[in-house]
Amino acid sequence: MRYLWTLVLIPLSLAGQRFYADDPLEFEPKPRNVPMAANRKLSDYYDLFSNQFGRPGERNSELGEPTRAKGVSTLGEPMQGAWWMKRHYYKRMSLEALQLGAGGRTPPSEGKWTIVSAKNEGVTPGFTVVDGAKRMFFVKFDPMSNPEMATAADAVTGRLFHAMGYHVPDNYIVYFSEERLEIGKDVKITGMLGKKRPMVWADVEEILRKVPKTADGKYRATASLALPGKPIGPPRYFGTRADDPNDVVPHEHRRDYRGLHVIDAWLDHDDSRAINNIDILVKEGGAQYIRHYQLDFGSTLGSATAKANSARSGTYFFSWKESAAQLFTLGLYVPYWAKADYPKFESIGKFEYKVFDPERWVPEYPNVAFLNRLPDDEFWAAKQVTAFTDEELKAIVAKGELSDAKAAEWLWRCLVERRNKIGRAYFTKVLPFDEFRVEGGELRWTDLPAKLGYWGETAVDVQWSSFDNGAGRKSPIAGQSGTKLPAMREGYWCATLTSRSKKTQTIDVYLRYSGGETAVVGIDRTW
């Protein structure tokens, strides 16, 4: 009978435990096979209206206790896998790796590019081509009014997103002359009234007439290597895909999606809506699963792809409060973003740093994942943004291949200053410590703003507790303060760091002592 109780009690105690043996989990478990996942398109108009006037997803503002980010390890890091990977912040990438981005070694081959489809409408004209090595590329151009703008934005932002861990396509800036193009067999083009008809060379010429040429008479474009796998439509910023067994965390509660708000603010990616992401059904090891990509970075860094971005960038298309204020004061109330001063760089568009306020920046319309972000989500994103040094940003900006050195300098300056504003804004909302580790019998950490030179070290008090993993209860150890580890026996321990200047800001750092080894296994932040 006693053994029967043992049988029952052990699982019960394990079920209630805070940490499991495999915590912190670094990677998502191997993805399950996705048996069926059909392509489903979303409506961008519906996305706009439902997010602007509806309330999709689960909103933190409507919950009594806000939901902390899910899909994260006990250290608060998103698990690596189909959504996100640890990159630059966690393991510094070389300048070369940062410049290469998601690939960087397989641009379209020399020789003829065969057009297999074309677009003479929409935001920008473009082609889909197959190069001599039979690889497919999507070719997109700059607008006539802003040579180099959208292609540079795509090149720079794509690399930054990659370095911050997101899955992105392998994009190249290419230069080519008309002679390189040829029309494939049976290629159709949609006419201005929506009818398809065979594509002829005059269509190519008409598309090329709408795009700028370089000084030496070539066309400059972004060539985006087709992603390996089958596109099945964009993931939304809320809910989960009904056909994906691996998608179990509502997107509005994913840290990698909530934190995007901060990243998008940095890069002025105000066009951050569902249709600018894509799900790809990939096959690996005989199974197929869905990988989630960020796409279309042509509308960032002052570019709105087909023209310079609007000065409205950083505010919603519509908000009751701001609209009423402007209407009833006959425009005497001027929103802060309207006061920005943009230098005239056609290859940049509208990008600045002086008026930029990361705390007030919002995308074009509400995004529930962004709205759900909490200070620890912001901290997670901000530490990635601030991980780029000035030199690294300069190297990445160089990949935008801007012919105007002053424009490149301005872009770099904006990225640096906006990065610093983000660091200063979000490192004050939580205790800005990270990279907790045990060294020489002491608990150590990195004080990020001190390391980055934003301000001096933040003073904290440290209180040690033993931690009952089953009950989730801390028991303070009398007289045990400071960074020196207490005498430990097998089990869990907790160091509570409390800011001396703001007592609500704390971090519980959990350690597991097992087999003579001490490891940091969990972090809890309050603010």
């Binding site: 053994y3 049988l7 079920a15 043996a21 398109k41 179990v248 973003w337």
Partner: protein
């Protein structure tokens, strides 16, 4: 019994992942297992499906395109004609999108009719040359006329019928991205008659031929013109910066009676001064029409410049003032309310006058008002303006930008457009 202890432990270890999950991975797998049991095709709501299909199937484009180019046309009649409706055939994809063809007929509840036919070649010489042929027949049943001169009285309102037919050929060349030059040649037939609006007396019953030249007789014209435009507005559909300066000079040669020859100069200057990143705009316009004739010649009253209405003096009725010359100055302060709506406060001042030497800032009629402009992608699709003057107030619902106009060509040469 001793053998039972390891057995129980073994069982517990084996059972834990299955029942509760003793690892984080098992916990995630449990969630995946649960989801796997309820997998379903990813779908979108009906509403989203409809909106998506509207875009994918280019429903709006098809609606505007019509059935094989045939579609209804609403409005496009002179102000005061009443609600108008009619069929239109429009194709912009002929000759591999090098020929636009349009023909339409419109009928209003007020008894007016309008028939138009137009062929346009917009992409000649690598889009540097445009050629356009336009023909129209209009039968406007109730145009307002208050008498000639700046001192005409509101109570003298009359109405007349204007029937005209015109054919014009227009050639335009783009000198560069901002400058256009062109010329037109056309034939114009006019035939005035009694108005059908019984609320007001018919014009010919109140005004004599001396007071309203041409009221009693039909004539026709050959009308060549030259024109030039400097347009550096940032977006002609919804300008927020830049300027647009248009000038047209036309010769109107009365081929039938040889007593109504005249020359006409149209000048329209627009300037848009933005501030606060184009969220606030001062829009200014000065527009004048000056005519002149040889001695003993006069200008039919219905071809004389008019003032008043939704596009110039907004506090006055349409066509409130008529004379051989006119000038109007408009100033608007526009402010963005949100991305799809602008507010405006405006002031208009203008006058008609008999002699060109009276082109000055004296004796101007004035109106002030406010308005709202709804736009999509910067282009105004609905304008609601309320104008006030000493003659009362007017509320205008219009589907165009206040200063918008056809670039040049025949429109400025006709009595109303």
């Amino acid at each position: 019994m001793a053998r039972s202890v390891p057995f129980a432990l073994l069982m517990s270890i084996l059972l834990v992942p299955a029942v509760f999950g003793q690892t984080r991975e098992a916990e995630i797998e449990a969630a995946r297992s649960a989801k796997e049991k309820v997998l379903a095709p990813e779908t979108v709501t009906k509403a989203e499906q409809v909106l998506r299909d509207i875009k994918d199937q280019k429903v709006l484009e098809r609606l505007s395109t019509g059935f094989h180019g045939l579609r209804p046309k609403i409005g496009n009649m002179v102000t005061g004609a009443g609600f108008a409706l009619g069929p239109e055939f429009y194709r912009a994809d002929l000759l591999r999108e090098h020929l636009e063809f349009r023909t339409s007929a419109g009928f209003s509840f007020g008894g007016s009719q309008k028939y138009e036919i137009e062929a346009r070649f917009p992409k000649l010489a690598s889009e540097r040359l445009e050629l356009e042929f336009v023909g129209s027949h209009r039968n406007y049943a109730r145009l307002g006329y208050y008498g000639q001169g700046p001192d005409s009285l509101k109570i003298d309102r009359t109405n007349y019928r204007m029937e005209d037919t015109s054919f014009d050929a227009i050639v335009t060349t783009r000198v560069n991205g901002k400058i256009w030059l062109g010329a037109s040649l056309g034939k114009f037939y006019s035939n005035p008659g009694p108005g059908n609006d019984r609320r007001y007396i018919s014009t010919e019953r109140k005004f004599t031929a001396a007071q309203a030249p041409g009221i009693d007789i039909a004539t026709n014209y050959i009308r060549p013109s030259i024109f030039a435009q400097l347009d550096y507005r940032n977006d002609p559909l919804g300008p927020k910066a830049g300027g647009n300066y248009v000038m047209q000079y036309s010769w109107n040669d009365d081929r039938k009676l040889n007593q109504y020859d005249f020359r006409r100069l149209d000048i329209d200057l627009q300037q848009y001064i933005p501030f606060f990143n184009r969220t606030r705009i001062i829009a200014l316009r000065a527009k004048t029409i000056l005519t002149d004739t040889d001695r003993n010649e006069s200008i039919p009253f219905y071809l004389q410049p008019v003032l008043g209405g939704s596009d110039d003096l907004r506090g006055f009725r349409p066509f409130r003032f008529t004379d051989r010359n006119m000038v109007v100055y408009n100033a608007e302060y526009r402010f963005e309310v949100f991305a799809g709506l602008d507010g405006a406060v405006f002031a208009d001042a203008g006058k008609v006058f008999p002699r060109r030497g009276m082109l000055n800032f004296r004796d101007l009629e004035g109106s002030v008002g406010f308005g709202l402009r709804f736009n999509v992608k910067n282009a105004t699709f609905l304008r609601i303006d309320t104008g006030f003057s000493h003659e009362g107030f007017q509320v205008w619902f219009k589907f165009n930008d206040v200063f918008n106009q056809r670039r040049f060509g025949t429109s400025t040469g006709q009595p109303v457009y």
